[in-house]
């Protein structure tokens, strides 16, 4: 409550009018509405995080290592986050994984072998026909890009632990001419 003070001059009268108007604004109601809107926005952001991290996300892969299945740029892929956690990943799937050389980089590669599988791979694609065969250790997978001439994958950094896999990609939703599943190499 404002205690009225006798205005002694026109500017003091304007000041006291201003203060009275300030007191008339429903601050508590505005604060209540702002905090409820803020809470709603926080809930929305949390819901988006939970869905995109644990259910279904979107990926924008770039680079030549998965040609011709994925374009060099401009593709938008749906990322299934449920399958890797449940172990529903097998040879032929295209997966997103954290790079074992730099964990801040996410790479998209195709799984060629699961634990216990024997994988035969070209050692020096393009220059020679030499191949090597390895057995994938327990808990690891062998990943390779479709474009073996331009791909940094398990041929360079070895089999990677399954725990690095963050998502499985099967469907493309952009560009419109290629909407549909990424064909799985048998």
């Amino acid at each position: 409550k404002i205690i009225p003070i006798e205005p002694s001059s026109p500017s003091a009268a304007a000041m006291s009018r201003f203060v009275r108007r300030l007191a008339g604004i429903p601050w508590r109601q505005i604060a209540g509405e702002a905090s409820s809107v803020g809470l709603l926005m926080a809930q929305g952001l949390c819901a988006v995080h939970v869905v995109s991290e644990h259910v279904l996300g979107v990926a924008f892969p770039r680079g030549p290592s998965m040609l011709p299945a994925l374009n060099m740029a401009g593709d938008v892929l749906l990322t299934d986050k449920v399958s890797p956690r449940r172990g529903w990943v097998g040879p032929g799937d295209v997966v997103l994984l954290l790079s074992p050389e730099d964990p801040r980089k996410i790479v998209a590669k195709r799984v060629l072998g699961m634990e216990g599988d024997e994988v035969t791979y070209p050692v020096d694609a393009g220059n020679s026909d030499a191949t090597k065969t390895v057995v994938v250790p327990q808990g690891h997978i062998w990943v390779q890009g479709d474009n073996i001439y331009s791909s940094n994958d398990s041929r360079q950094f070895g089999p990677v632990p399954y725990g690095l896999v963050k998502g499985k990609m099967s469907y493309r939703i952009w560009p419109p001419s290629r909407i549909g599943s990424i064909d799985s190499k048998e």
Binding site: Q43, C46, L97, P161, Y162
Partner: protein, 212 residues
């Protein structure tokens, strides 16, 4: 202030009068439990049985979603099983009486760790298991294997981890350096049992030569 009532099956509109003024004050509640302190003198609480269950369900889903987000991005609570970090952290036979620790996730933004941090990471040979060990070697460092006098280099993007309890610890001495991408968080505090509440310090084991 006057507000129009919302059209819900259990909506009720009550009119109250403020003491001392002539203003009509309308409180309204929807099928959710809502207490609107618009009228300072009287607060009306209205709920139906079915709407109460629905509101409890909504609150638990909201709480769960917010909890999962906080646990994924900021801080999470983990119960320690296994004896590889004794005496810093111990487990007992019952999970309820083992140590409970707080782990922060902010370090996963840039993957910048320091020597001596205690970290949580997924086991490289079984992605469903989570281990807790101390970080001994950072990427690019040369470290000495404790048993032999071998010196190895930790590859880029990897780290060398060892448990404080060397005799009972299955760590990098067995499975080699692990990719940093397997790390789940950094342990900062012990919050149970009360006798051990406090920070988990960055510590270097006494008998190891610091890496170079």
């Amino acid at each position: 202030p006057r507000r129009p009532p919302r059209n819900r099956s259990k909506a009720l509109v009550a009119s109250l009068r403020l003491h001392g003024t002539e203003e009509d004050c309308s409180c309204f509640c929807t099928s959710e439990v809502q207490i609107l302190p618009v009228c300072s003198d009287r607060i009306v609480l209205i709920m139906g049985a079915r709407s109460q269950l629905w509101s409890i369900a909504k609150m638990s889903v909201t709480g769960g979603v917010i909890g999962v987000t906080i646990s994924d991005r900021y801080v999470t609570v983990v119960a320690i099983k296994g004896h590889s970090m004794h005496p810093t952290m111990t487990a007992t036979d019952s999970a309820l009486r083992g140590d409970i620790v707080l782990a922060e996730k902010a370090c996963l933004d840039q993957y910048k760790f320091s020597r001596g941090d205690v970290i949580l990471f997924k086991c490289p040979s079984n992605h469903k298991e989570v281990f807790v060990k101390r970080l001994i070697g950072l990427p690019g460092e040369w470290i000495q294997l404790p048993a032999s006098s071998e010196i190895i280099k930790v590859p880029q993007g990897h780290c060398w981890v060892e448990g404080d309890n060397a005799a009972r610890s299955w760590d990098s001495r067995s499975f080699g350096p692990i990719p940093l991408g397997l790390i789940n968080g950094r342990v900062t505090h012990i919050i149970w049992p009360p006798s051990k509440i406090g920070r988990v310090e960055r510590k270097w084991p006494e008998d190891r030569i610091p890496p170079f």
